[in-house]
Amino acid sequence: MTPVPDRGPVHPPASLSPGLLDLGRRVELRLPELLPPADQRPEAVHQAMRYALTSPGKRLRPILTLVVADLFGVGSRSDRSTRVLDIACGIEMVHACSLILDDLPAMDDAALRRGRPTVHRAFGEAVALLAALALLNRAYALVAEAAHHLPAKRYTAEDMIHHLAAAIGSHGLIGGQALDLSSSPEELDLERLEFIHSHKTGALFMAAGELGAMAADAKRNELELIARYAKNLGLAFQISDDLLDVLSTPEEAGKDVGQDTLKVTFVKRLGVAGAQTLEAELLGFAVASLEPLGKKAEPLREIARFVQHRRR
């Protein structure tokens, strides 16, 4: 028998498929259009916004929004798709805002982000703060406007804004960050750790998925499936982040690593192998959650696989 060469995986596990990459490119192209011109006053804030937002990232959250919306029937060429794209960009703006704040000296005091100096290192703390707030407000405005124009029967624009606000507020991303800052390693038990991760990271993943589903007018049970998927994906993503902090160099990760040395993470609690196992189990459940959605959900499965194999 002639030996057949091992052709390996169809898609290298550390990259997204061309289709998903294309969605990321759409976001990349749309983001600058949604920001004020860099030379418009206040120039420093606008430049900082642009700097933070257009730095090379994975755009995983907006891609998630777009994929979910597409899954429930929003095409790529309709007016509706433009609105969904704006919502996705709003999600990315919130994420960029959270990164600026997270890197501040009062918080993680990071020097590198996405392979470049952090915003406060490049523009100063004051400008970084203002840029973050500006991005956040722009995101709300974008989502509100897009949601207002979307012909969704099951969800109002108010529903979508509430979802986003809940994901960001003190019961969401801000709450997780606050607890992260205030918890000493000694008092960080599993329950707190999960709270921090699910709020700091998971909440925005869930919002990204849910807003995509709401924008596409998905049924309630479908929305629930997406939420379950995103919840597991978000925690797995955070664990993979913790793993990268241990396993990667700054060049590879595009950001400071070893930042979590003093923090309690799942990697600290379980060891590398244990954390990898848990990450895979979470992703496995995320994949299994999609089963009722059928083959259309394949891009979401691909995102899960990407999270498992990502190196950045």
Binding site: R7, P9, S17, S248, G254, A273, G274, E281, V287, R311
Partner: protein, 665 residues
């Protein structure tokens, strides 16, 4: 390339390398991407695929890591993560980093468990229904489930290991891209093959099932098939996702479908119990009204093809039987693959196979079950070769107590008049009734001095003498010319001598002036099983045995008002049998026609009971109209159900051995 080599390759080239690397606690290099994989160009989104990544030293895992991981899992489950739903617990393994062989083993185990849960309940239900346990002991279905679950799960695990290995091999070697369609196709093929196998091997169970049971199973079958296909599909898909690392297309199953399936399963489980509760059995009268009636003689001859009988009758070689046929009526009946015990019990009781309770020559009683499974369908090898040696089931022969309807001679003896039954099926252990009962297989049982061979037991010595005399008579001399001595001795002891004895015992029993006398002659049927000479010699034997029976009929007939001779092809495979019915009162309806009227064996039994002066039971058909029958003394809903009689274990084993030696098992 072998499957093991493929799995090793997979282990080498996949994330397992990544999983294992940190455990080495030393800087190392990640394996480069597979050469043929092709990394797409980096987009602005930053899909990062560095060719080699140096890992920093790992922190040591804390002690008791496994415990911590389990605790974390539990904590996360309580918070809505990692919820291992039954429906999707196979797919959750798709991204779990395990060694491929271990992953395949665990996955196969899970598929096996799920398959056991899918297949064991309907099979237990079916077995219970086909053996009449649902109405008498409904909880036997649950016990059967416990007996069946483990073997089905184990068999499914092994089968999935094979199918999974084949799938893994195909996915890797053939580079199957549409793994969703491929795995679904494989799972559908498994499902269809299982269904076909079930229908083919469970013919016995289907034949024995009532209409409503078949209806319930027909309703349940699609759901069972669906659940089976889905289980196998998920298992294969999980395996394929692990091995192919390729986009997959999961087959959808909505929550609504799951609920519907569960509701249908509950319906299937509960329906029999409801039906059993709503249909109480008709109550038997305390005593039967009896008319004086006449005397009835019935002889069953097994192993004769209808054309053989027709030929000999036409040639006038069977004068007594010919005379009965000329003045009575000759009927035909279709003959399928029904076991002999079941068929001859229809003649005796007038009830069809599921209702008279005698459906097989032996059965198995699983530990905890109150019902002996006389119908095992495709599971017979399992009970016989696994459960019985392990002591989880008892192997039981067909016992008289298994019969759930009275034979006509038993009803005839209720008024105190004697009855005579010789060698008829489902008469061991011999029931004590007025007259004499020589149990089925009595020749061998008497030789072994088994209890229950004769009732009353006081008759056993005289009958044993007759048996010895029959044995001493030796085989017919014409056979000695064509058969070797050992073959001849075996043929004589198995088939010919017993019939000589039964004929003699029957003749002797007629001295009791029985009201009902029945005799079963099986020499030809037994001789046909492994006949050591040619077909011509067998034809001669048919003629000789029928002539012997004819002489017996001639000598026995005087004094009987009704005579029925049933000639059945038995295991020789004929498609029809013959019934010669003679009534002293005449069968004017036959009008001397030569064409054969079809007659159900149950109708013949009904006629014999009517001739005995018994009331007409609503459970029995009307007697054949071509003959004249006395008016029944009354009508009853049922004749009732005999109380089960248990034979001692030793006698059961002896009877079982007899059946085996006669080639029935």
């Amino acid at each position: 390339m072998g499957v093991a080599a493929i799995l090793v390759n997979v282990a080498r080239s996949r994330r397992l390398a990544r999983t294992a690397a940190p455990l080495l606690a030393s800087p190392r290099t990640q394996p480069p991407p597979s050469p043929g994989g092709g990394i797409p160009p980096l987009g602005v989104c930053g899909a990062i695929s560095p060719p080699a990544v140096k890992l920093r030293p790992m922190p040591e895992n804390p002690p008791g890591e496994t415990d911590d991981l389990e605790r974390v899992r539990e904590e996360l489950r309580q918070r809505g993560y990692l919820s291992h739903g039954f429906e999707r617990f196979l797919l959750q393994d798709a991204l779990r980093p395990r060694r491929p062989v271990r992953a395949l083993a665990i996955l196969a185990g899970k598929v096996g468990l799920r398959t056991g849960l899918v297949l064991a309940p309907p099979l237990a239900f079916w077995l219970a229904a086909a053996n009449g346990a649902l109405t008498t002991h409904p909880f036997d279905a649950a016990v059967l489930f416990l007996h069946l679950f483990a073997p089905i799960a184990l068999a499914a695990t092994l089968a999935f290991l094979l199918v999974g290995a084949a799938t893994a091999w195909l996915v890797r070697v053939s580079h199957v891209r549409r793994i969703e369609a491929f795995t679904f196709g494989a799972a559908a093929a498994v499902g269809v093959a299982t269904l076909a196998l079930a229908l083919w091997r469970a013919e016995e169970l289907v034949a024995a099932s009532g209409v409503w049971q078949i209806g319930v199973l027909a309703v349940a079958a699609p759901f069972v098939l669906y659940a089976l296909v889905k289980t196998v599909h998920h298992g294969l898909l999980t395996l394929a996702i692990r091995l192919a690392d390729e986009p997959s297309e999961a087959w959808s199953l909505s929550r609504g479908w799951l609920v519907f399936s569960l509701a249908a399963a509950a319906f299937v489980v509960l329906l029999p119990a409801l039906l059993a509760a709503r249909q109480p059995a008709a109550e038997a009268p305390g005593s039967l009204p009896m008319a004086p009636g006449g005397r009835v003689l019935a002889i069953g001859i097994d192993g004769v093809l209808a054309p053989e009988l027709d030929y000999l009758l036409a040639r006038g070689e069977l004068p007594a039987l010919g005379a009965l046929a000329r003045t009575g009526a000759v009927f035909s009946y279709p003959r399928g693959t029904e076991p002999p015990a079941s068929f001859w019990s229809r003649i005796a009781t007038g009830r069809p196979a599921p209702e008279h309770g005698v459906t097989a020559l032996d059965g198995f009683r699983p530990l905890g079950c109150k019902t002996t499974l006389m119908r095992s369908g495709p599971l017979r090898p399992y009970w016989k070769s696994i459960e019985v040696p392990l002591g989880l089931s008892e192997h039981r022969p067909l016992l008289a107590g298994r019969r759930s309807a009275f034979a006509f001679w038993e009803l005839a003896a209720r008024g105190g008049e004697p009855a005579l039954a010789v060698d008829w099926w489902a008469t061991f252990p011999a029931a004590t009734v007025p007259g004499r009962i020589l149990a089925h297989g009595g020749y061998q049982l008497l030789a072994e001095r088994a209890k229950g061979a004769v009732a009353p037991a006081a008759d056993a010595p005289a009958l044993a003498d007759l048996a010895r005399a029959a044995a001493a008579e030796g085989p017919p001399p014409e056979l000695a010319k064509i058969l070797a001595r050992p073959a001849l001795a075996r043929l004589d002891s198995r088939a010919l001598a017993p019939d000589r004895f039964y004929r003699a015992a029957f003749s002797a029993g007629l001295a009791l002036r029985p009201k009902a006398a029945v005799l079963y002659l099986a020499a030809l049927d037994i001789a046909a099983d492994g006949w050591p000479a040619g077909s011509l010699a067998f034809g001669d034997r048919v003629r000789a045995e029928l002539l012997a029976a004819d002489r017996l009929i001639d000598s026995a007939r005087p004094g009987f008002d009704t005579v029925a001779i049933v000639v059945d092809p038995g295991r020789r495979g004929g498609s029809e049998g013959r019934i010669v019915l003679w009534r002293a009162a005449g069968c004017p309806g036959s009008g001397g026609r030569r064409d054969l009227e079809p007659l159900a064996p149950e109708a013949l039994a009904s006629g014999l009971m009517r001739a005995l002066g018994l009331p007409q039971s609503a459970e029995l058909p009307a007697p054949p109209a071509v003959c004249t029958w006395p008016a029944p003394p009354g009508r009853v809903a049922t004749y009732g159900v005999p109380s089960s009689s248990a034979a001692a274990a030793r006698e059961s084993v002896e009877y079982l051995e007899n059946l085996r030696s006669l080639g029935y098992l």
